[in-house]
Each structure stands twice: as structure tokens, then as C-alpha cells.
């Protein structure tokens, strides 16, 4: 092909590509790539059939890319999206900035009071709902019944950290590549810090005192981190400092973990015989505690919010109401079975005997969610909202930096004391810069 021809072809293709198309009312929906969201996308024909004037465009992205993308857009009022999938971290911050449309006009059959109180609380500011929960999750213990039996132990429904440590050591058989416990170690505010912040709550630690002073120099944090590092060194898999949810899921599914404490959403993966080699041997228990009145479980809800800059708020609200309604749950149950219904948002779902029969982990999920209180997450009072995070804009940066220190402590490149000291220094510095403390 001559250069002229190539040039000509390129120009015509370019011209063709730049022709813009006219459109009716089209909602652009940004969402994350997980099973429940993909199912919603597939079933959205039901919504467009009910609302012939509305078309849907989907933008599915990986969680961290999505967060960066929607934050840029909403902060600059870019107006690219009409519905955004956001979590319990974003909602209080964004609502306070006036970036989200209050969900005040939900239809009468929506039944807002049916939403689980913990989830609803996490998505409300001053009693006003700013995002509708699509699915909620907490964390819990998933364990291998066969290995537990072999170790001569019985998992209580609500275990303590001491029991978890004892069981982990008893189940470990490093020669056969079986590790008593798998926990997150990969650095990140939503990775190891989600687990460690929630765990610290149950050890009586907290991120900040009422004056926003960092608390990593307290004995409670030292106890938390020492316990975690020792436990993982004795009974965890090698290279745990780079393990996140997916790495641990792969280890658990291939039979290499005795216990795994992570998101309740994992329950449906590890009990699915198609993907998991241990599907019929999995038991569940509440996240552990230390007898201080707080359990080490978190709370998260992927929710649908409407950015204040959208021109299509009315249509967007219709979509949000459809996707988070009771009838959506029934439609999923009818088409894909009750086990595939998005969990953790509505009381009525957990009262439904059909759901209880289809999802053996239902009760445990509900109890875990109810045990987490984002407005009162710690033993001692705190000035912030959030169980496994602190709902302030600076937290993403601080959380990840602290996570890197704790991941290094797990890898053994720094000691627990050094990691805590660095965490304290960097948190103090950032909070001073952000103007929380003098």
C-alpha cells in the first residue's frame, strides 16, 4: 500500500469516526465489574421496557479506576455520568459537599424503611438518603470444616481472636502447603487497611481521638499489629504481604487456607462447586472479637448515587429506584435463583424463607452487617464516620501510606514498632497539612 493510499484511508476513517450521533434521553451509568453489577446490566432490558423514553449506556470499570474516574468527573462537574456506583466511603463526603442529589422522590412502593439500618445509616447525612444501596457486605470468618475437625476444634459462632490464633496454628501444615489463616497483606486503604482498621476496632484501637490526633502510638495499635504479624508469620502463607482479596480467594478455593477473614461476598464464590475445590467443606462464623464489645468486621455498600450536575436527575432517580427495589430482587430470584440475589440491603430479603434456604450464609451475612455501626465504630468515641475507613477526603492517601508501613512490617523489612512510628508521623503530618490539627 502506498503512503498516499494509507493516508487517504486514515483520513476517511477519521472523518467517519468523528461524525457524532444524535441521541434520545440516554443515561450513562458508571459501575464496577462484579457479578451482581454485570447481572444488573443484563437484566436492565426490563427497565428500558418499562421506560421506553430512556436508553442506558454502561461504563464498567475496575474499582480503583472507577473511583478515580467518577471523582474527577463529579469534582469538576464534568457531567459525564448520570448514575454512579459509589461506596459508603464516598457518600458522606460527597453529600456534605453538595455533589449528590438527595433521593427524596423515591416511589411509594420503594419502602425505604425496609433498608437495613446499618447500611441506610452509612448512606445518609443528617437523616437524608443520598445513595441507594445495591448490595451490602461485611466481613466474616470462612473456614474449612474438615481441617477444623482434624485439628480437634469446633468453631464457635462468634469466635474470639485467641481462638482464631489457636485454631490457625493447629490447622497449619506447611509441608502440605496448608496454612491456618489467610489475611490481606497487600498495601492499600481498601486492601490491608480495610482488614486492619476493622480488626483494630475490636482491639480497642482507633485512627483518631476526638481532637483528630493520630493514635498509632497507643498500646492498642501495638497489640493489634503485633498479633497480626505474629499470627501471619506462624500460620500464614508465604508472601502474604502481597496478597489481596483475589490472591486469598485463589488460595482458599484451591484448599490452601484453613481460615480466611474477608468480605461476605466471598461466601458465594467459595461455596460454588464450579470454581472451588472445597465448596462442600466451608463453614462461616462472625468476625472475631476481643471481648471489648466491637467485632472486627467492616461494612461496605456498593450504592447508586446521582451526581448533582446531571441534567437527567428524574430519569436517573427512576433507574436507581428500579435497580434497588424489592421487585428487582424478585426478578433476579425468578430468572437466576435466590442465591444470586444481591445481598445485604433489605430486611425483607432476610425474612424470606426461600432466600434463607437457598443461601446458607444468609444469616451470618445479616448478623455481620448488623454488628457493624459506621456512626459508632470503635470502643472509645471518635470524631469520624466509617468502620474500616475514615470518611474524610484525605483518608485515601493516608490510609494507603499507613498500609505500606504495615505491609512492610508483615514482610519483615521493618519492625512493628518502626511501622507504627512511621504511621504515626506521617498521619500527624498529613492531618496538620489538611488543617485538622495545629
Amino acid at each position: 500500500m502506498g503512503i498516499k493510499k494509507l493516508f487517504g484511508a486514515a483520513c476517511s476513517l477519521l472523518a467517519f469516526g468523528m461524525v457524532s450521533s444524535a441521541s434520545a434521553e440516554t443515561l450513562t451509568i458508571a459501575t464496577v465489574n462484579n457479578g451482581d453489577m454485570i447481572r444488573m446490566q443484563k437484566l436492565s432490558e426490563d427497565f428500558t421496557a418499562q421506560n421506553p423514553g430512556i436508553d442506558l449506556d454502561w461504563v464498567t470499570l475496575e474499582e480503583n479506576v472507577l473511583r478515580q474516574r467518577v471523582t474527577t468527573d463529579i469534582a469538576t462537574k464534568g457531567g459525564q455520568y448520570d448514575v454512579m456506583t459509589i461506596g459508603t466511603y464516598e457518600v458522606p463526603i460527597w453529600a456534605n459537599k453538595g455533589w449528590l442529589v438527595e433521593l427524596a422522590d423515591l416511589p411509594s412502593d420503594y419502602d425505604v424503611d425496609d433498608l437495613l439500618p446499618a447500611i441506610r445509616g452509612g448512606l445518609s447525612v443528617d437523616g437524608k438518603l443520598y445513595a441507594a444501596p445495591f448490595y451490602g457486605e461485611s466481613s466474616m470468618v470462612m473456614y474449612r470444616k474438615d481441617l477444623m475437625e482434624k485439628a480437634g476444634l469446633t468453631m464457635p459462632e462468634a469466635p474470639t481472636w485467641d481462638f482464631i490464633a489457636k485454631a490457625a496454628k493447629a490447622m497449619t501444615d506447611k509441608d502440605n502447603e496448608i496454612y491456618g489463616i489467610c489475611l490481606r497483606g497487600k498495601a492499600g486503604w481498601g486492601e490491608n487497611m480495610a482488614f486492619l482498621s476493622a480488626t483494630a476496632n475490636s482491639f480497642g484501637a482507633r485512627w483518631f481521638d476526638m481532637d483528630w490526633k493520630a493514635q498509632f502510638d497507643t498500646p492498642q495499635w501495638k497489640e493489634t499489629l503485633t498479633f497480626y504479624v505474629n499470627l501471619m508469620n506462624e500460620a500464614g502463607p508465604p508472601g502474604a504481604s502481597s496478597n489481596g482479596f483475589n490472591e486469598n480467594l485463589a488460595l482458599f478455593q484451591t484448599g490452601k487456607c484453613g481460615m480466611w477473614i474477608d468480605a461476605t461476598v466471598a461466601a458465594s464464590f467459595v461455596t460454588n462447586p464450579k470454581d472451588s475445590t472445597v465448596a462442600d467443606q466451608v463453614g462461616f462464623a462472625l468476625a472475631p472479637d476481643n471481648g471489648l464489645g466491637k467485632r472486627g468486621n467492616w461494612l461496605w455498600a456498593w450504592s447508586l448515587g446521582i451526581p448533582a450536575g446531571t441534567q437527567k436527575a428524574e430519569a436517573a432517580q427512576k433507574f436507581v429506584a428500579w435497580a434497588t427495589s424489592k421487585s428487582y430482587l424478585e426478578m433476579v430470584a425468578e430468572k437466576e435463583g435466590w442465591a444470586n440475589v444481591p445481598p445485604g440491603t433489605r430486611k425483607s430479603l432476610y425474612a424470606n424463607p426461600k432466600y434463607q434456604a437457598a443461601a446458607p450464609f444468609a444469616q451470618m451475612t445479616l448478623e455481620s452487617i448488623n454488628a457493624a455501626d459506621p456512626n459508632n465504630p470503635t470502643v472509645d468515641p471518635v470524631p469520624y464516620v466509617g468502620v474500616q475507613f475514615v470518611a474524610i477526603p484525605e483518608f485515601q492517601g493516608i490510609g494507603t501510606a499507613v498500609g505500606q508501613q504495615f505491609s512492610a512490617a508483615l514482610a519483615g523489612t521493618v519492625t512493628v514498632d518502626q511501622a507504627l512510628q512511621s504511621a504515626q508521623q506521617l498521619t500527624e503530618r498529613e492531618m496538620r497539612k489538611a488543617g485538622y490539627v495545629d
Binding site: 503512503i3 494509507l6 493516508f7 486514515a10 483520513c11 476513517l13 477519521l14 467517519f16 469516526g17 468523528m18 457524532s20 450513562t28 458508571a30 464496577v32 465489574n33 462484579n34 457479578g35 454485570i38 446490566q41 443484563k42 449506556d57 454502561w58 461504563v59 464498567t60 470499570l61 475496575e62 474499582e63 480503583n64 479506576v65 478515580q68 474516574r69 474527577t72 468527573d73 469534582a75 469538576t76 462537574k77 464534568g78 457531567g79 459525564q80 455520568y81 481498601g190 489481596g244 482479596f245 483475589n246 480467594l249 485463589a250 478455593q253 484451591t254 490452601k256 468480605a263 461476598v265 466471598a266 464464590f269 464450579k274 470454581d275 472451588s276 475445590t277
Partner: protein, 276 residues
Amino acid sequence: MARAVNNKRRAVVTLIAWAVGIAIFFPILYTVLTSFKTEAEAVASPPSFLFFDWTLENYAEVQERSNYFLHFLNSVVISLGSTVLGLIIAVPAAWSMAFFPKKRTKDILMWMLSTKMLPPVGVLVPIYLLFRDASLLDTRTGLVIVLTMINLPIIVWMIFTYFKEIPGEILEAARMDGANLWDEVVYVLTPMAIPGIASTLLLNIILAWNEAFWTLNLTAAKAAPLTAFIASYSSPEGLFYAKLSAASTMAIAPILILGWFSQKQLVRGLTFGAVK
């Protein structure tokens, strides 16, 4: 004796070349293989290399869920568009700098390159605001413009280097024969620099095809190219490695095939003038 040593050396060099080649290509090969596995086999430990149940279900699912053709078309338009636009700007610029250098030409070249040293995220918000006000968000036109800007320093530098290899006397001779500026550039300079321009073109298509920061951040549904298509299959909660691999394979296949067929041109262009 000398031949034996020569053969031995050649064998060693060949062996090393193969080892390096395989090491570089292995991740791509493994991605392609994983795309034919089930999700359970994709994370099995130890991993099976060839002996697993080959399946096309990942491709079927990716096809069903995403509009591959739209993303593909966007990628083609954006990468070709930005490269062609870049060449249109860069050829005259490189021509003037190569044949009529001024006191500050070197500084200008360095300054152009320095724009590549800034982390793109540093200018994300200003560019986003400009795009918002110009209604360029989520449009192919916007991406063509931004990718042209990003790749322009590389295009200018490459073409400048190729033009530098061409003796100015040839152009002078053409001028003596009565060629005007247009004839000089089109009939004398361009044919001589074709290998260089072609390799610049190819390299920039590849760079634009793989660009994943701006293409993800400035698009939503309509202008999203294949990078967004891949990003939609990545998930921190859930093992979708096989589907992600299938999506990646589909996204890199066109550019891999293009690279394969044009590798002679590419290598020739990249080593143009290197052995003089």
C-alpha cells in the same frame, strides 16, 4: 578450527536470542493460553500449561457483554487519527529544524521532550476542565487531539533524526534543478525518508493504541477505546482472570498482527542510519 569456534558462538548467540525472545513474549503467550481456560483452571496451582480443557466460553461471554466492535473502531480512529495529525504537524517542523537549524533549535527539541517528563495525572484536572468547556469529553475528536499532543515530541524527534541523515546537498541539487519547496519535500525528501516516516507511523500507532491514562480518563461510553474494554474486565473482588485474558487477547490481537506484518519496516526504520 575457526569455523568450529564461529559455529559455537553462533549457537550460543542463537540460544540467548531465543531465551530473551521467549522471556519477552511469555506474558503475552500466557495471557492467550489463560483466555482458553476456565476461571478455576486460570488460578490453579501449579498452573497447567497446555494440558487443560480448552474452552471458548470466555470469548463468548466477553462478546455477549461488551460491544467489542465499537471499542475497536474507537481505537482505530484514535490511534490512526492522532498519528496522521501528528505527522502533518511534525514533518514540516522536523524539516525546518533539520535543514535550517537556528541557534535555539537544540533547546526547542529538548523543551519539546521535557513535556514528556511531567506525570500526566498532574495536568488531569486542567485538561478535564478544558475538555468539559469545549464539549470534548467522551469524543473521539478530543482523544485524537490529546494523543497527538502527547506523541508529538516523539514524532518530531524521530523524524528530525531521519531527516538529519539525509545530506543537505541532495536538496540543494534539487533546488539547482528548479524544484520548488513543495517538489523538494514531496519528491526528494519524503521518498528518502519513507522508512523513517513509516516506522514513526507504526510506532505511534502502537503508542496511541496502548495509551491507557487519557483514554480511560477522558471517555465514558461513546468514545472509549479498547483500553477501557480491558479495564471493564479487571476486578479486585472476584476471580475473572480468564475473562480478563480473553478481553486482553482481543484487544492486543489487531496491533500484534499489524506489528508482525510490518516488523521488517519497523526494524529498518528504527535502525535507519545506525550503521553508517
